[in-house]
């Protein structure tokens, strides 16, 4: 039982790390701001979600487990809202970006 749980955890955390790595690669490789936002939001969401899923079975008490889920929800919410704000600002060109 223990070994099964460890394997599942290992796979989830590993997959999470993989998506973080891919997201970073995408952020560096992709050609423009909007495409990079795609890599950022999806890697953020899935990478952290998988790492947290891998950690959940090892949480000492239910409050800690719920706190982890809450962190994931917050990151997801701020990721989605932040990407909308950044994209909107870039589209309308009303930020200070234009001066560069």
């Amino acid at each position: 039982m223990e070994i099964l749980l460890e394997t599942v955890s290992l796979l989830l955390v590993g997959a999470g790390a993989f998506f973080f790595a891919v997201g970073t690669l995408g952020l560096v490789r992709l050609p423009d701001l909007f495409c990079r936002l795609h890599a950022l939001t999806k890697a953020d969401n899935l990478g952290l979600g998988l790492v947290i899923a891998g950690l959940l079975p090892w949480a000492a008490d239910p409050f800690l487990a719920l706190k982890l889920v809450l962190i994931w929800l917050l990151v997801m919410l701020s990721g989605a809202t932040g990407s909308y704000l950044i994209a909107k600002r870039a589209l309308r060109g009303d930020g200070e970006d234009l001066l560069e």
């Binding site: 460890e6 955890s9 290992l10 955390v13 590993g14 999470g16 790390a17 973080f20 790595a21 997201g23 970073t24 690669l25 952020l27 560096v28 701001l33 990079r36 936002l37 950022l40 890697a43 953020d44 990478g47 952290l48 790492v51 947290i52 950690l55 090892w58 000492a60 800690l64 706190k67 982890l68 809450l70 962190i71 917050l74 990151v75 919410l77 701020s78 990721g79 809202t81 932040g82 704000l85 950044i86 909107k88 600002r89 870039a90 009303d94 930020g95 200070e96 970006d97 234009l98 001066l99 560069e100």
Partner: protein, 87 residues
């Protein structure tokens, strides 16, 4: 299990370093902000992994504060306008 969590944390720290490329290259402030955002989220994952590896549950609270500040910082950046705070 804690060795695995530590190893994953080390891998994630390496990707954070790679993410710095986008922060340095830019070209726009929004691009740099996105780099910082990804580094921030990866940092949250690292904190949680280390918290479990070394049995320091307080690190989860640090991660929670990181998550809250990330939302504020992006919003603050997008509220800046042309000509503001230039001196």
């Amino acid at each position: 299990m804690s060795e695995i969590f530590t190893a994953a944390a080390v891998v994630l720290v390496l990707t954070m370093a790679a993410g710095l490329v986008r922060v340095v290259v830019g070209p726009t402030p929004a691009d740099r902000m996105m780099g910082v955002q990804l580094i921030g989220t990866t940092g949250i994952a690292v904190l949680l992994l280390l918290g479990f590896a070394f049995e320091m549950p307080a690190l989860a609270d640090v991660a929670l504060v990181f998550a809250l500040l990330a939302a504020v910082s992006v919003t603050a950046l997008t509220r800046r306008r042309v000509g503001q705070d230039r001196s």
